[in-house]
Structure formats: C-alpha cells, structure tokens
Amino acid sequence: MSIFLHVLKIIVIVIAILFGVTFTVYIFNLDMKLTAAIEPWLLKHYDKIDRDQHL
C-alpha cells in the first residue's frame, strides 16, 4: 500500500511539475519566443543550400 502511495505521490509530483513547466511555457508564450529565436538561423541555412533555379 505504502509503495502504491509512494508511486502515486511521485506521479502526482511529476504531473504537477510537468503542468507547472508546460503551463509556464504556455502562458508566457515561451514556445513561440524560442522558435522565433531559431528562425533566423534556419533562414541562413536555406540561403546556403544549392538550388537548381530554373523554370
């Protein structure tokens, strides 16, 4: 029983931490802030790719 409670406690803590982290990311728009930082790097990469530009 105590093991079960212990596991349950861990699960609740993990869920709570996950919720806390993801909700913080969500409400402060951190996901978009991160991807906005990645974008310029990606665009530079695309410019370097050799392309067979023609009709």
Partner: protein, 521 residues
Amino acid sequence: MAKQVGADRLGDFYKEGSRVRKRREWRGLVDTMYDYSRWLGIMMTLGKFVMKPRNVKAMFRYRWMANYLAVPMMVDRHTQGLRGEYLRICHEEQDLVIKDVANLLDSLFRGDRRIGNDKKFSDKVVLVDENEMTAVMMGFPTLKCLSRETPSTYVSVLLNQRAACHYIDVAQEFGLAGDVCPMPEAEAGVSIDDDAPILGACAIQCNTTCDGSLLGNGVISQRLEHEDGIPVFQLAAPLRHREDDVQEYAAQEIRNAIAFIEKHTGVKWDWGAYFECAKRVNYATKCRLEWLEMNRTPYPQVFGSNLALYTETNYMAICGRIAAFEKADTKITKLARQAYAKKKMAAKEYRHRAIVWGVQSHYYMDFLVWLLNCWGIVPLTDMLSMVSTKELVTEDTPENREQAIYDMAWLTENMIMRNRTHGGYKVLLDELWEFVEMFNADMVILWEHMSCKALDGMHGLFEEKAREKGIPLVWVSHDLFDPRIISRQGVRDQINSFMRTVMQEEPIDPSLEILPDDQSW
C-alpha cells in the same frame, strides 16, 4: 486578465519589433485550462511530426518549412478575445486543420524523391492544385490526393505574413511582372526555386480562380512534366459556370480527368466511396446552412474566420473525403446551437452587421477577429464562404452515377472564390446585395485585392450600387500574399479612418487601433 468577453485590452499583448506576442491570454480558469489543453494537443501533433527523421530532413531542405515554427501562434491569432463556445468552435476547426496539414506534410515527404523516396507510396499519389476542388478524387479512396502548394504557400502565409515574399521575388527575378496575383506568383516561385517536393503518379491541375492561377500552373507543369516525368492533366472548368450550355463540357472534363487518373495509377473509380463522400458533403452543406441561418439573426455563432477558414478547408480540400471533418461539423453545430439558445455574443458589443466581400488578405486572416474586437463589426459571412449549397445525389443507381458526374463538375466549377470571380457580374455584383438583404447587414467590407483583376474590374459599379442602396461600403486594399505592398496596419488604417471619419465612431478596444505587428509572424 478576465473571464468576461471584452475585458482585456488585446493590443497590450503585442510588442514592438517582435515576431511573437508577450504572453497568452488569461480567459478565466475554465477557458484558460481549455485553451491550454488544446495547446498541449497541438504540441503533441507537432511533436509526433518531428519524431520522424524524414520530416526533420525536410525541415532543413525546404525554406517554407520554417513557417511551421509558428503554428501555435496562428491559433492564438484566431482565438484572440474568444471565450466559451466561440473558443471551442475555433479550436475544433483549427486543431483539425493543423492535424490535416501535418498528415499532408508527412505524406508529401514520405513520397518525395529527395526525402523519403517511398516509390510505392508515391505511385499512389495524385497531385492537385492548392486552390482546387478535390471532387474528382472522391471515388479514389485508396489513392492519396496531395497538394504541394497548400503547405508551401497557402498555409505558410497563414502562419507567417512574409512567408511568400522570397518566392514572389524569385518569380520576379525570372521576369514575371510584379502586378500579377502574388498567390500563383509565389507558387510559380516555389517551382522555379526548386523548392517543391517531387512525387506522384500524376497531377491534376485546374483553371481555378483567375487568369493568373491558370497561367501559374503552366510554370509548375513545365518542371513537373518535362523534368520530373509526372504526367499532368489540365482540368478546364468552364468560366461561365451558371450557363446551361457549358455543363456538358464540364462533365466531360470530369470523365476525362477520372480516366486519366485511372490510366496513370491503375486504380479504378469506386462508386461506393464516391457516394459515401457525397453524403458527407451534403452533411457539411446542411451544417453550413444552419450556421448561416443563425447568422441572419441578432445572435450569429459561426462567423468571421471561424466560418471562412473552415469552409475553405472542408468544402474544397476535404470535399467529403475525410470522416473526421463530419465529426467536427457535428461538434461545431452542437456548440453553435448551445450558444444560440443562450443568446451568447462573441464580443461585448455588436455595433454593425457586415458582409465581407472580395478576396481576403491572406497575410491577415485574423483581420475578421480584429474587426469584431476593435470596432464591434460582426463579419456575418464572407464571399469565400458563400459557396454551392446544391445537394448531391447519394444513392448508387445508374441514373445517379450520371448525375454524380454533373455534381462533381458543378462543384469543380464552383470552387471557392472562382464561383464569384468567374461567371459574370451577377455572381459577384448582384448577389452581394441579395446577401446584404438576406443577412440584414448594415455595412459592406469590400476587400480590394489589388492584383485581382476580376474584382477590380467591378470597382466603380460596387460603389454605385452601395450609394443606390444607402449601405456604407468600406474598401480595404491589400495584396493578398505580400505585406510589403500594404502592411497589416495599412489594412487596419483603412477601417480606422472610415469608422472615425464617416461613421463618427470610437473603437470598442482602442488598444487594437494601432498594433506594432509589422515584424510579427
């Protein structure tokens, strides 16, 4: 930070010079938790997509894939200020569209000779245009109907206002005039820039909305057919689609297109599958009509971009072929009925009832939400949502099989936008005023997509009719895919000046009047 509709100053979320907004809205506990859970769902969809190495490879190969970094923000833009049922309707639609596009991308890269190179899969792929009615694929359930232009240009611009600029520039570097519609221009640019996935047993192109679209296809087929060896069938839908003497021609084009697909894929047309799809199309039409009926009352429920974006996807790209959209139709209708029974409103004040006509600015699709939140203008319906409501035959009989060919032809002729930009002035000019009356509207917002010649050509007559009817008409100029010509603020300014000077009104939410979103996605 409030539960009530309209309690927030929505303009405060924007940050000068930033791609993204400062934070997401607090909509009260229940609605925020709901929005958060849907955000998690979107993240899982994206996560699943990224798990596949070929999709990561594609991310580094195709420039337009960078726009998909902005998926959650697109949803945020359309849910601005929404609460309760409106928020749920929006998510129901947007999340499904996101899943559908993720599946489309995954399939494209699976068959793409440069990425997944799954030849067996590619041999079951039929490529279609971005703006094409997919009715002709309703009887091919085992084939994959994929559009390369949908993810590379159409959805990309919904995600990132500047997504098409690079491709527009490429096309112009090759000598294309700068005054053509930037949508087919960007699609041609993707092809010229060698940035389109290469796959498929064959392709069906169509003379969709305009001369530009027709000619843009010529650029794409040049490479597709002569270089990639993918045979192309050009489906020529009649322009004067309301005339009786073009319907046989249209039907024969459908027969020829089906025969072409059968020949190049080795798959036979399946009437059972067709009639199943036809039932779903009828159901979608029934739901849409119910939403539009509600929009005629003082308590419209499915309107603005909720109506426009979903109709565009469901009517043309899906066309009854995917069962999940039928479920979404049911859920949306249930939510709308619920809100209607409670006489709910999406904003704190409805000042004007507007019909939105013309071709909307693609880089500013959430403009309709802005209209509502900033000025209390309810976009009851829009030109692109006023599509065919014809009931298709659904019972498999020899006579109905013949009728079904005409039904598919009718749908193809009446693609979104095309059903108004072609077919003579009656469908563009006269029917607008019929809808104004039908929806009891007191204002017309007229998008002037400056390189859309079919619409520009009726400019003066729109104005004369509006004067004659005594209906305020606001022109909103834009260049569809290119915010460098008229920015989002440039779009808003046209409404702001009209509302302040002509209507002598003050905004409901003044923080939205001028927004620093020039650099935003």
